[in-house]
């Protein structure tokens, strides 16, 4: 397998211009003769489908939800970064590039990240023109806030619902194309296999989730915009339906999977309250601006927080990181919370939580100021926990919420299968080993509105495709495979539900391939996952039938893929003998307990190639070189 990033060479600020100039164009009159499949209708998918439709291609867009507007991009709260420098505070394309590359702990590709920073400014313009109600200053100009430790104010936002508003903008653009007839929408339809003919991606096989019908769709190019795989952990901040099935089945057809072990953990989520819990809810990171994080000094101290005197509290972040205190980056805050809970000092009924205390801030600024800043978040917290954060400290705990890893793509967002493009969270491209806040929305829209529409055209213009139709044997083979898998899952009729297995799988991966990893924990996890998977295929019970709406069956197929992906994550984490970004291997830390990167040996993208059901996958390395920014050690002391 050849990993050629195809990034042009030359001065970095000219690369994208140059690449666009070198791309071949499709004759406008011919565009409608080319069909492009877009799987997923979140920011990356809806924006791509809408733009390709505007250009005149014949687009088919698929989503498993009842409407494209439900995609999980909708849940993003904080905002979207752009190097507009509207405040004259020293921001620039180069600074956003620098922050993103450094934030990713130098495990991403310079040309891709630079292009992302360049395009960021166009995204804001496009979204404003679509009617996205961004926050405004009194003079009518766009408002900004700072976010995630950046020293400039470059985050655009629409209250706490930025993802919702950006997605609705893309959804509306998509519906406009549906109205024009250029995009055909297939909601409640799940992609269950990729079809590759003569080495080129030529279509997909889907299951209609209402009728159960398995169908083939032929195309000239396939785009996967199917989001991240955080649900491998069972409990995550992802939507319940978010899954890895599309990218996993593409992986099995030869698309390399890059950096699967890079998964991000968000430090401020509402802790688990019981074993019925189905998901975790994120609380905006901005709370750490005024809240102080602490646990009791003594292990097993079960007194209510207001009865623990000041000198028996450990404000551990302020103690360990005097200069950044409670504002250390996400990975550092998360790891420290786990460490104090592991020492038996965690709070709440489960002992898996730390206090986020606003009493000092309320004393200093008054209740009204705090209400103005965080009122909606406090309300949400109270709705879920029935505790009043104005009176009792909040309890928080880290949770999985983003996957930096994903299918490997080149500069043109094409995977190792020609004609298969991957965008948004589903690819690995821009965030390295750690994503900065307010950058996910930026990447999804950059890929979908401004990169893919050019690069797919270039592929189509350069490629001679064999004339085939949906009766081609590869489609028949894929359909038969999907039907067989469905029948197999329904036939087991064991004694455990899909969720029972999924919870256990998630716990193994959370414990052994979560915030802290060791060679030993990873090896043990691989063994446990294999055992549990074997049990799954013998003892899972899926009720209902294959020919109508069957939510258990949908889940069963997704969990089967999570088992395999979970194992690959552990394998990748085991192979990466260093700590970087969100990947923290306990064996590799500095004397004072911080992540120790090893640039000499591990400055590469790890891309895994599938070799067959009982074969070990093969690791390929794309070396990372840094011409513009010299890799440095992160320090927050």
């Amino acid at each position: 397998m050849l990993l050629d990033s195809r990034a042009p060479s030359g001065p970095i600020e000219k690369l994208w211009d140059q690449a666009r100039f070198e791309m071949k164009l499709v004759n406008p009159a011919n565009k409608r003769k080319h069909t492009i499949i877009v799987v997923g209708s979140g920011l990356a998918g809806a924006s791509a489908a809408a733009t390709l439709g505007e250009l005149g291609y014949n687009v088919k867009c698929f989503c498993f939800q009842d409407s494209p507007r439900r995609a999980h991009s909708i849940a993003a709260q904080g905002g979207i970064n752009a190097a507009k420098n509207y405040h004259g505070d020293g921001d620039s394309v180069f600074r956003l590039f620098y922050d993103t590359l450094k934030g990713g702990d130098f495990r991403s590709r310079e040309p891709n990240v630079y292009r992302l920073a360049q395009i960021s400014v166009d995204i804001i313009d496009q979204c404003v023109a679509q009617g996205v109600p961004f926050a405004r200053e009194y003079g009518g100009t766009l408002a900004n806030r700072s976010f995630g430790g950046a020293q400039v104010s470059r985050t655009f936002y629409a209250r706490g619902q930025t993802g919702q508003q950006l997605l609705l903008g893309a959804y509306q653009a998509l519906e406009r194309q549906v109205d024009s007839g250029r995009v055909k929408m297939f909601p409640r339809t799940e992609m269950l296999d990729l079809v590759v003919v003569d080495g080129q991606a030529r279509g997909i096989v889907t299951r209609n989730l209402v009728t159960g019908r398995i169908e083939s769709h032929l195309a000239d190019a396939v785009v996967l915009a199917t989001g991240g795989y955080g649900n491998v952990y069972f409990l995550s901040t992802n939507a319940k339906g978010s899954n890895c099935t599309a990218i996993w089945r593409a992986y099995k057809h030869g698309a390399a999977f890059a950096n699967p072990c890079f998964t991000q953990i968000h430090p401020t989520c509402i802790p688990v309250s019981g074993d019925y819990q189905s998901k975790l809810t994120l609380m905006s990171e901005s709370l750490r601006n005024d809240g102080r994080i602490w646990v009791p000094k003594k292990a097993g101290d079960k007194r209510p927080p207001n009865q623990i005197p000041e000198d028996e509290r450990d404000y551990y972040l302020e103690r360990r990181y005097p200069s950044f205190g409670n504002l250390v980056p996400r990975d550092v805050a998360s790891r420290n919370a786990k460490a104090v809970c592991d020492e038996g000092r965690g709070v709440g009924e489960t002992g898996l939580g730390v206090y986020l205390d606003f009493s000092d801030a309320i004393r200093q600024f008054g209740v009204e100021v705090i209400r103005e800043r965080y009122g909606n978040l406090f309300e949400m917290y109270q709705r879920i926990t029935d505790e009043d954060p104005y009176k009792v400290p909040m309890r928080i705990y880290p949770a999985i919420h983003y996957a930096m890893g994903g299918l490997w793509v080149d500069y043109y967002l094409m995977s190792t299968i020609p004609g298969l493009f991957v965008t948004g969270e589903a690819n690995f491209s821009d965030h390295g080993a750690n994503r900065l806040g307010a950058s996910a929305l930026m990447q999804g829209l950059s890929d979908g509105y401004f990169i893919l529409p050019y690069t797919v055209g270039d592929y189509i213009a350069r490629t001679k495709l064999e004339k085939i139709d949906e009766r081609h044997p590869e489609f028949a083979r894929a359909q038969a495979g999907v039907a067989e898998l469905t029948a197999r899952l329904l036939a087991i009729q064991g004694h455990r539900t899909v969720d029972w297995f999924h919870r256990r799988l998630g716990k193994i991966i959370w414990d052994d391939c979560g915030m802290l990893r060791t060679a030993q924990s990873l090896k043990s996890a691989i063994g446990q996952i294999r055992e549990l998977r074997e049990e799954y295929w013998k003892d899972v019970k899926v009720a209902g039938s294959a020919d109508d709406l069957n939510q258990s069956l949908e889940k069963a197929g997704r969990v089967a893929d999570f088992f395999e992906l979970g194992e690959l994550m552990c394998l990748d984490a085991l192979d990466r003998n260093e700590s970087c970004g969100a990947h923290f291997r306990e064996e590799y830390q500095t004397a004072d307990g911080e992540a120790q990167r090893n640039d000499e040996q591990f400055s590469y993208v790890a891309a895994w190639e599938y070799k067959g059901p009982d074969q070990a996958p093969v690791l390929h390395k794309e070396p990372l070189t840094f011409e513009y920014i010299h890799p440095s050690q992160r320090s927050y002391k």
């Binding site: 409407s67 507009k84 919702q164 519906e175 939507a239 819990q277 029935d386």
Partner: protein
């Protein structure tokens, strides 16, 4: 705590549905109503019965997937809360809950609590957008938007398209949903060029679907989990009348 559930079960659109009684004996007051259904479903599956189908995705009140009637109220008794965020502590031990799907001709039942809301997509498709091809936008700050207009547009844009407004309305009207989008875009300078045509097309589409008319009852506002105000319907009517009179 213990709860008695009466849930609407309907295998498919063609079959007649009925209420089925279930007992939930080990309910944690912190559970959401969807987690309660998860627990019931686990038991049903192990007993070899089909689990209750219900729509859900983000489970944090923003995707708009979930929604059903609890004791006759869309999204249940707590104001401004979707069923995914409605916790069981709002009910008394031993209480009976009647859980039914949205009932409206325009939202045919697919299975159990799952209904077809694609009529909403068709209303947006008819004109719920600003026509701006990718790449053709001027700099974001060229279009100044008064803060007040932006805030009011955001109030309307907060709609999650869950359909509670239709389910609560005795006429099954989609006026609040349609009005919310017309108000959102019509309050912004960017939305002005297409404002009249948008109102015409969207209202026409809303009339061709099986929704009823608005008679200013206000149930929609009362149950809306995002607290969209009736005022958006007035804006819709105003824009529609202006457009109709040419």
């Amino acid at each position: 705590m213990k709860l008695i559930l009466h849930v609407w079960r309907q295998k498919n659109p063609a079959e007649t549905g009925r209420m089925v009684r279930y007992e939930a004996n080990d309910v944690n007051p912190d559970m959401s109503s969807l987690e309660l259904l998860d627990v019931v479903n686990e038991e049903l599956t192990l007993k070899g019965e089909e689990p209750i189908a219900f729509e859900h995705d983000c489970r944090e009140g923003i995707c708009g997937s979930c929604g059903f009637m609890i004791n006759g109220i869309a999204h249940g008794p707590q104001a401004a809360t979707t069923v995914c965020q409605l916790s069981m502590r709002h009910f008394k031990d031993g209480e009976e809950l009647y859980i039914e799907p949205w009932r409206a001709k325009a939202f045919p039942i697919i299975k159990d609590l799952v209904v077809d809301r694609s009529a909403f997509d068709r209303i947006i498709e008819a004109g719920g957008y600003i026509s701006v091809p990718t790449g053709s936008a001027p700099d974001g700050n060229v279009i100044l938007v008064p803060k007040d207009a932006s805030d009011r547009a955001m109030d309307a844009a907060a709609c999650i398209g869950c359909g509670a407004c239709v389910a609560a309305c005795p006429n099954a009207s989609a006026a609040l949903f349609t009005g919310a989008k017309i108000a959102h875009l019509g309050l912004l300078p960017q939305g002005q060029p297409e404002r009249r045509q948008r109102a015409l097309s969207m209202v026409r589409q809303f009339n061709t679907e099986q929704f009823g008319s608005c008679t200013n009852i206000g149930e929609c506002e009362a149950v809306c989990p995002k607290e969209i105000k009736l005022e958006v319907i007035a804006r819709m009517n105003r824009d529609f009348i202006h457009a109709s009179l040419g």
